[in-house]
């Protein structure tokens, strides 16, 4: 007798120790990744949609995020508030969602006997969501409040300004939540179109990590999602950004700011580029751990109260970012001098074996931390898939860190940070401005 199931089992991907990704694909294109970890009798269930704010048309920013809110409203089979009620009654926790540039993600955690329920709830709102005018207006009110909360945050203004400078063509220049005018003007019809085009099995990924039986999970997924029809997903209109040939700079103020803050961003390639491991290692060298170069020169000397430098990878052109919250009396110029002096020494001096060992230790720790947290592991796999098409891309890069050489780090630091042009934003407290 032939199996009633039509899913395809793809090759397992080993992670670490006994952990492995069991991969399956349904006929309609839906990909499922299941990792068994029986430490606690629970599982995390994440639904990733390959759509984010960068996929929105210019001037219509914020729809992906507003729509994320609508997914907690009602479906054709479940009334208003029923989704959350069922989740809660069945012991679901951590229920939430987020929208970023490249993806929209929904997640919760359940006791291990609730797999069927989790799949039922998520497949239902993926195919039967009801978007009506009254609810849409109410949810706009909540999103506008969320937007205003963000406006109270100097950090948010700082980074929104950085991206608006760093990108001139790509939609990464817009904030995910959108602007007040665009939020107010969205229509129900736009939301419905967005839903039917983007929330389809061929544009999504289910990740389940925890105390589950993979075969039972995929059979449930087949049952609940197998009949969903694939959609024709619009390709992202803009996927590149012209090379930045000049430095760009802005000075801004914020009424709530009490410290000077400096942010810089340089274009870098996406995660698939062979320079990714070296860029990630460069970030670790600069600000991971108390002995990292910039922590030593800025934090440990009390010139700054917060510092980070790291590669922010996106599906398209990413950015290598520096953030410094300056101590009282420190000028932007002196902070930048210290930064460039440290970076120049990295690029032109010697990166010692000790420094390389410390970077490798940090990456090893990151890997261990990720695989002992189901939610964190699921996020790592999902991010990898959305940004590269390969679930295990980041984990494999962490495992291959031994291959990264000091000379690679020096080359990328020189190429992207020293020879590249930055977008720089200096935030000055209003009382100083």
């Amino acid at each position: 007798m032939s199996s009633p199931f039509t899913f395809h089992r793809l090759e397992d991907i080993p992670l670490l120790g006994s952990l492995a990704i069991n991969q399956y694909r349904l006929e309609n294109g839906l990909l499922a990744a299941i990792v068994v970890d029986r430490t606690t009798p629970i599982f995390t269930y994440q639904t990733w949609f390959n759509v984010g704010s960068a996929d929105e048309p210019a001037g219509r920013q914020g729809l992906a995020h507003l729509f994320e809110h609508m997914m907690f409203r009602k479906t054709a089979t479940r009334g208003m508030g029923e989704f959350e009620r069922i989740v809660n009654n069945n012991g679901g926790t951590g229920i939430n969602a987020y929208t970023s540039r490249d993806q929209t993600v929904y997640f919760f955690t359940f006791p291990n006997d609730k797999v069927y329920l989790a799949a039922d709830l998520e497949s239902d709102r993926m195919s039967n969501l009801v978007v009506d005018s009254e609810m849409f207006q109410t949810e706009k009110g909540a999103v506008l409040t969320e937007k205003n909360r963000g406006l109270d945050d100097p950090n948010r203004l700082l980074w929104e300004t950085v991206y608006s400078l760093a990108y001139t063509v790509h939609n990464y220049r817009y904030s995910t939540i959108g602007e007040i005018a665009s939020i107010e003007n969205f229509t129900v019809s736009e939301a419905q179109t967005f839903y039917s085009r983007n929330y389809s099995p061929n544009n999504s990924l289910i990740i389940v990590v925890g105390d589950v039986d993979p075969e039972a999970v995929i059979q449930t997924i087949e049952e609940k999602y197998g009949s969903l029809k694939p959609s024709i997903v619009d390709k992202r209109a803009v996927t590149s950004e012209p090379v930045q040939r000049e430095s760009r700079e802005a000075a801004i103020t914020h009424p709530k700011a009490t410290r000077r803050m400096l942010a810089k961003a340089w274009h870098i390639p996406n995660m698939l580029h062979p320079d990714y491991p070296a860029l990630a290692a460069a970030g670790k060298l600069l600000t991971s751990g108390k002995s990292a170069v910039l922590n030593e020169r800025l934090l440990n000397t009390a010139k700054a109260t917060e510092v980070f430098a790291d590669a922010y990878l996106s599906r398209d052109v990413g950015t290598f970012e520096l953030f410094v919250q300056c101590a009282d009396g420190e000028s932007f110029e002196s902070i930048e001098d210290i930064f460039f002096s440290a970076v120049r020494e990295l690029a032109e001096g010697t990166i010692g074996d000790d420094q390389m060992q410390i970077v490798k230790n940090h990456l090893q720790r990151d890997l261990y931390r990720a695989v002992t947290s189901p939610a964190q592991l699921a996020r790592l796999l999902g991010d990898s898939f959305i940004l590269t098409g390969d679930l295990s891309y980041q984990i494999n890069a962490m495992k291959r860190i031994e291959d990264v050489r000091a000379i690679d780090i020096q080359r990328v630091v020189k190429q992207y940070l020293l020879d590249g042009k930055a977008a720089t934003v200096k935030l000055i407290p209003e009382k100083e401005a």
Binding site: T39, G91, I95, R149, D152, R259, L299, A327
Partner: protein, 429 residues
């Protein structure tokens, strides 16, 4: 059974070759700071790994990182905590270094000068985060300005001398009780051998645990407004007296609070889902320790909706037991809480439960016993607990927003509300 000196709380995790080991110098926390040295306990923690007579701060940091270790010290109201996380293969070397630092820490003057500068800057930076300011103001008010409730004090930090740190840490090191907690791929016996290196020959004539500070009694509706004239959004956090950690009503209260203020609770539904007046609206419990806990509510209305939300929240706080939406939710909590038992089997949760059992007498229940406690929560018992505990007349109401505007709204809601305006800088003075 109270925590005994050198006791180990342990869970095994074979998934990765890592060890987390935490040293808790019990009773050696912020509660031991003199009133004119606010920030001393935190300064001692931050200074601990900044040098010995043999090793500089840089050398210590590098040695740990070369061993794949993260080692930090921090403080709570009652405890001074050293947290170690490292590759298990390097545990012996890491512990050896921590032992030597605890024994030989020299607290260099130049490092203290740098730390004081950083601490003052961080206090000022904290004032730019609205949620942190609201939370700090709530603590400030509830602890009546006591040391343990302060986000920090610029004046306190600046008055700390190296001798203060040296003396404080000498009493930390010899606290009357030092206990350990660990999650590791090693066995309990192997971890015990390691913790023995901290215990062997240790003096215990230093700090001893003092009673925790109790929250202030609130009579009437007292409003405290952190004046934030240019805020784009208002925020509020209201609390009232709760119950003790071992109070038999804690199961009823947990179900009531979940029905009232969780993500799908009554408040969220009424204020956010139906009205769209705010982004967040929830009820919460400040957990009891040896101190009585508190019951609270939070919301973040927009400038336009505050005038509607504030009176409505006051009304809901009074009438919620009679509302159908609340009653339905309460009835459903039996299944919710029984299903959530699985999370109590998490390694970290089990570890924390055993510490709470020994510190505060909170029993650990097996699933069957736990379920029967949940079953004992009925509509009648919950209503009795609501009648006994919920009190909308004696509220500590903390706001973040424009003081004049909030005061006008409050005057319209209830002219008897006494309001006090707090300038943000007061929180770090």
């Amino acid at each position: 059974m109270p925590i005994t000196n050198h006791q180990l709380y342990y869970e095994q995790d074979p998934r990765v070759p890592m060890t987390q080991l935490t040293l808790v110098f019990h009773g050696a926390g912020i509660q031991q700071e003199p009133r004119d040295r606010i920030g001393l306990a935190r300064a001692a923690a931050k200074m601990l790994f900044r040098g010995t007579n043999a090793l500089s701060r840089e050398a210590i940091a590098k040695k740990f990182e070369l061993l794949g270790a993260e080692v930090n010290a921090n403080v709570s109201e009652t405890d001074f905590v050293v947290a170690i996380s490292c590759f298990t293969k390097n545990l012996e070397a890491v512990v050896g270094l921590v032992v030597s630092v605890i024994r030989d820490a020299s607290f260099p003057q130049h490092e203290l000068d740098l730390l004081k500068k950083t601490e003052v800057n961080q206090l000022e930076a904290a004032l730019q985060e609205p949620e942190r300011v609201l939370s700090a103001a709530n603590q400030f008010v509830l602890y009546d300005g006591a040391v343990v409730g302060r986000i920090g004090s610029k004046q306190g930090i600046l008055s700390i001398a190296r001798e203060d740190v040296v003396e404080f840490f000498s009493k930390v090191r010899s606290a009357s009780i030092l206990y350990f907690s660990s999650i590791s791929d090693l066995t309990a016996e192997e971890i015990e051998r390691t913790t023995g290196r901290f215990a062997d020959g240790r003096r215990d004539d230093g700090f001893a645990l003092k009673p925790e500070v109790q929250f202030r009694e609130v009579n009437g509706r007292n409003a405290f407004i952190v004046h934030s004239p240019q805020a784009k959004n208002d925020r509020l956090m209201w609390t009232q007296k709760g119950i003790a950690a071992t109070d038999e009503r804690r199961f009823d209260l947990s179900l009531i609070i979940d029905a009232l203020g969780s993500f799908e609770g009554f408040l969220f539904d009424e204020l956010r889902n139906k009205k769209g007046w705010c982004y967040g609206a929830y009820a919460f419990v400040v957990p009891a320790t040896s101190r009585t806990g508190r019951i609270g509510a939070y919301a973040d209305p927009s400038l336009e909706t505050s005038k509607d939300l504030i009176p409505e929240l006051l009304r809901l706080y009074r009438v919620f037991p009679e509302e159908q939406g609340f009653q339905d939710r309460l009835a459903q909590r039996n299944a919710t809480f029984k299903n959530r038992y699985s999370y109590q089997l998490d390694l970290k949760f089990r570890l924390a439960s055993r510490v709470s059992r020994d510190r505060y007498g909170i029993p650990i229940l097996e699933r069957e016993a736990y379920n029967s406690r949940i079953d004992a929560v009925t509509d009648i018992s919950a209503r009795r607990v609501i009648d006994e505990l919920f009190d909308d007349r004696n509220l500590c109401m903390v706001f973040y927003g424009d003081a004049e505007r909030v005061q006008k709204i409050l005057a319209l809601c209830d002219p008897s509300i006494q309001s006090t305006v707090i300038e943000k800088e007061t929180l770090i003075a």
